[in-house]
Symmetry: C2
Subunit: 160 residues, 2 copies
């Protein structure tokens, strides 16, 4: 099938200069960061400052080429890549829901950053609980591992 | 900034042959569909069948080129494109959280489909409430409009 091409709309800045040490999920990160939206997209930020949370869609630019099986940070067994959230995937697309603190012109100030500095941003969507929250019955291999979340950091295993 | 290239991992099949008439969010759709994962990615589905919900990341292949302001389905005013969820965006990437009913080889059976038939799929991630659910304070322009959600359908306005 034919390839799909996207152009970054901005760059995410964070205190994390390398993948190693980054919190593995936004939900457990207290770190702050900024997003520089390229000036040609600034008009698209209108009305966004009234939302408390936003979904970032970005490109894992420092991840090595993905295999179809990988050992996730929170387990010791190899799992199918579509059942884990790690960055080395067939299409290395990341999603993070972060708190939006404020917007000044083309700069967004955010909290809950689990993203390495310099990451290319592809899209922003407003987070809306009635759209995005789910009650689930099953969380697969994470069931016995979810308690590890608060203290888990990227250990560099997916770095290219 | 340089372009980023992705290759679809599969195709989403649904009862919706055109954008017009599609429920505007997975959260309010009862429709079923299937996803055909291309055989070369089938191994990556291992362990996924133990999750009840999955996040689909896909390409809005039928949307017209995005402008930076647009009138969303659930409002009557023009809003910044990053504050709405419509498909005509600088990078036309969609996300939907759907219920996973079962997997048979490379075919996923899903429910809550808000996606048009033939949509190229870029990634699948397991949905994990502790990663993905948020309590938010503000939902911007949607505050006075959210009650419209259950009955809203795509009216074709973003069709190319």
């Amino acid at each position: 099938m034919k390839k799909i091409e996207y152009t970054p709309i901005g760059i995410i800045h964070s205190p994390f200069k390398e993948p190693k040490g980054v919190p593995i999920q936004a939900a457990v990160s207290k770190e702050k960061g900024t997003i520089e939206i390229f000036p040609e997209y600034e008009e698209g930020l209108k009305d966004l400052d009234k939302f408390s949370h936003i979904i970032l869609i970005f490109h894992f630019h420092l991840s090595k080429k993905g295999k179809l099986l990988a050992i996730p940070y929170m387990d010791t067994k190899e799992r199918g890549i579509f059942s884990i959230r790690g960055p080395s995937r067939p299409n290395p697309i990341g999603i993070s829901t972060v708190k939006l603190l404020k917007i000044a012109k083309n700069i967004l100030f955010i909290e809950n950053v689990d993203i390495v500095d310099g990451t290319p941003l592809l899209d922003i969507k407003p987070y809306i609980p009635k759209f995005d929250n789910r009650d689930t019955e099953n969380i697969g291999w994470l069931k016995g591992n979810i308690q590890k979340l608060p203290n888990k950091k990227d250990d560099g295993r997916f770095r290219k």
